[in-house]
């Protein structure tokens, strides 16, 4: 459905997207994962024919983005990071306008809008001005806009950014429903989001693809160590050395006022660590399991890819 072929986009001397190639099949939900400035948005803008590629090309449903932009645009729904809304329009008026410019047949437009409004949970908001809607509802109007003409491919740039947790769950649910008969590309920098919604993840960093895999495989790699934060009263250097000698502890690092202790996920060494601290005659002030932040996970992933 989507074939990206050695795509490169440069802004002057800066290379935003560097020679990336990938394919997305029909019915797949693919997540673009990467930190801000990785090139996710740029890639999406090229795929939607908003920006020209410097080199390389892409085909969507068999149409080249450079040779046949109108055909490509007919087949994609695009939700940019900032939903493209006219604040002075009412929701229904806005969707009517979208139906016209997206080429929905006038006879079908009315019925289509009624369907979309139900699907996106906007039934009781159709007569409101978009400028008066909350951020969550605006995001839904943005989604409605992207799917109104029933496109084969939907491209969404950070569809859940800025929403509250309940809204995020709703939007993800909606994306999964949509994806049943369509191809979806979405970008995010939130890892669990990818896990929950996508069949496949493309990790992109400094304009390059660093990993393409299923979320299960990727997270398995990241979850193979557990990290605890340990705070003690006593000499921190002595404690660090003592803990490092416990069998199974893979790494001990000092952080500002405590220690980070890592061990493999399958073991539970918390008892051994606390026992060792007590043996040293020190006080155990705090001990808690820590989740790895995205930066660390991302870092781990990029490192993993280089080693492999």
């Amino acid at each position: 459905m989507i074939e990206v072929d050695r795509l490169t986009k440069r802004y002057g001397a800066f290379t935003a997207v560097d020679d990336i190639s990938f394919q997305v099949g029909k019915g797949e939900i693919v997540g673009f994962l990467g930190p801000n400035g990785a090139g996710k948005t740029t890639t999406m803008r090229v795929l939607t024919c908003f920006l020209p590629a410097t080199e390389g090309t892409a085909r969507i449903a068999g149409y080249d983005i450079f040779d046949n932009p109108l055909e490509v645009k007919r087949r994609i729904g695009y939700l940019p990071e900032l939903p493209p809304l006219y604040r002075d329009m009412r929701v229904r008026t806005y969707l009517e306008f979208i139906a016209k410019i997206k080429g929905v047949a006038p006879k079908e437009a009315r019925q289509r809008i009624d369907e979309i409004v139900v699907q996106c949970g906007l039934v009781d908001r159709t007569e409101q001005l978009i400028g008066h809607l909350s951020k969550g509802y605006r995001q839904r109007v943005g989604l409605a806009q992207a799917i109104l003409h029933d496109p084969e491919v939907i491209i969404m740039d950070e569809p859940t950014s800025g929403l509250d947790p309940n809204q995020i769950i709703e939007v993800r649910q909606l994306i999964r429903e949509l994806a049943q008969e369509r191809t979806v590309i979405l970008s995010t920098h939130i890892l669990p989001e990818v896990e929950m919604t996508c069949n496949r993840v493309i990790i992109i960093h400094e304009g390059k693809i660093v990993a393409v895999d299923t979320p299960e495989n990727l997270t398995a790699n990241m979850r193979d160590t557990t990290r605890f934060f340990v705070r003690i009263s006593g000499d921190i250097d002595i404690a660090a050395k003592a803990i490092a000698t416990i069998e199974g502890v893979s790494d001990v690092t000092q952080v500002n006022n405590g220690l980070h202790v890592h061990w493999p996920a399958e073991a539970d060494l918390s008892a051994a660590v606390s026992a060792r601290i007590v043996e040293l005659g020190m006080g155990l002030v705090e001990m808690k399991r820590e989740a790895m932040s995205l930066e660390e996970i991302f870092h781990a992933l990029t490192m993993y890819e280089k080693e492999a």
Binding site: F50, T54, P80, P84, Y86, T93, K100, I101, G103
Partner: protein, 257 residues
């Protein structure tokens, strides 16, 4: 054509759904009405004076040259201030609000978007102009008008409006800041307006060129009742030229760097 109408409809709704159309129509009608009234009073004074003087020789006092001509001349001047405020939002607002991305990723061409926007602004212009023309309608009930120069003056205003609007749209397409768009169009319009002052001190070929480029120069004859095809062609091709430039600006974003 459907796409052009979709954009046209959206822009019209935006003009009339916000205060812009009403405020700008109000400003224009107020100032042009003020000038019209002043010209009329002046005409009245002159008529009374001539009557009192009971001069032997007959002096022709013409309502066309004393009222209608200055009225149209002043209108083009007010439009030069009002039009940048009507055009400034056309592209700048879309770029700022992110909706430009929506338009450019929809199956609709830049030319269709441009035509829709131009037509919407032009129709609004003609609507306001038609209201101002109502003043002359009132005048015609009390005075014997020579309709030829009236219509040629109206034609000049109709033609120069298309040029003004296309300059304003070009400025709007160059930036995402509405204020800058408005300032740029003022600059262009005033430049094209006063360019013939520079002509006065230029020699030979430069004199001809500068004179030719001046907008005011091309309206002068028409407002006084002489419709020359060369002026008509000038305005139509100037509007087409600025629209073409706008289209090129918009399309240049798609060129491969």
């Amino acid at each position: 054509m459907g796409n052009v109408m979709a954009i046209f409809g959206k822009e019209m709704r935006s003009y009339f759904g916000s205060p812009i159309a009403y405020v700008m129509a109000g400003v224009f009608l107020l100032f042009s009405g003020f000038v019209f009234r002043n010209q009329l009073l002046e005409f009245h004074d002159m008529a009374v004076y001539l009557k009192l003087a009971e001069r032997e020789e007959k002096i022709l006092l013409n309502v066309n040259t004393e009222v209608v001509t200055p009225f149209f001349e002043f209108q083009t001047f007010i439009w030069m201030i009002v039009i940048p405020m009507l055009t400034m939002r056309l592209y700048a607002e879309e770029k700022r609000g992110g909706t430009y991305e929506l338009l450019m990723t929809s199956p609709i061409t830049s030319a269709q978007i441009l035509m829709g926007k131009f037509l919407a602004c032009y129709v609004l212009y003609l609507l306001i102009e038609a209201m101002a023309f109502g003043y002359i309608g009132v005048l015609s009930m009390y005075a014997q008008l020579d309709w030829g120069p009236v219509f040629s003056g109206a034609l000049a205003v109709v033609l120069i409006g298309a040029t003004f609007i296309s300059v304003g749209i070009l400025a709007s397409s160059l930036t995402e800041n509405q204020i800058i768009a408005a300032v740029l169009s003022f600059f262009f319009l005033i430049l094209l307006w006063i360019i013939d002052w520079a002509a006065r001190f230029a020699s030979d070929i430069f004199f001809v060129i500068l004179k030719f480029l001046s907008l005011i120069e091309h309206t002068r004859d028409m407002i006084h009742g002489v419709v020359d095809t060369h002026d008509v062609v000038f305005f139509i091709s100037a509007a087409a030229f600025f629209l073409f430039l706008t289209h090129t600006v918009l399309e240049s974003r798609k060129w491969r760097a």
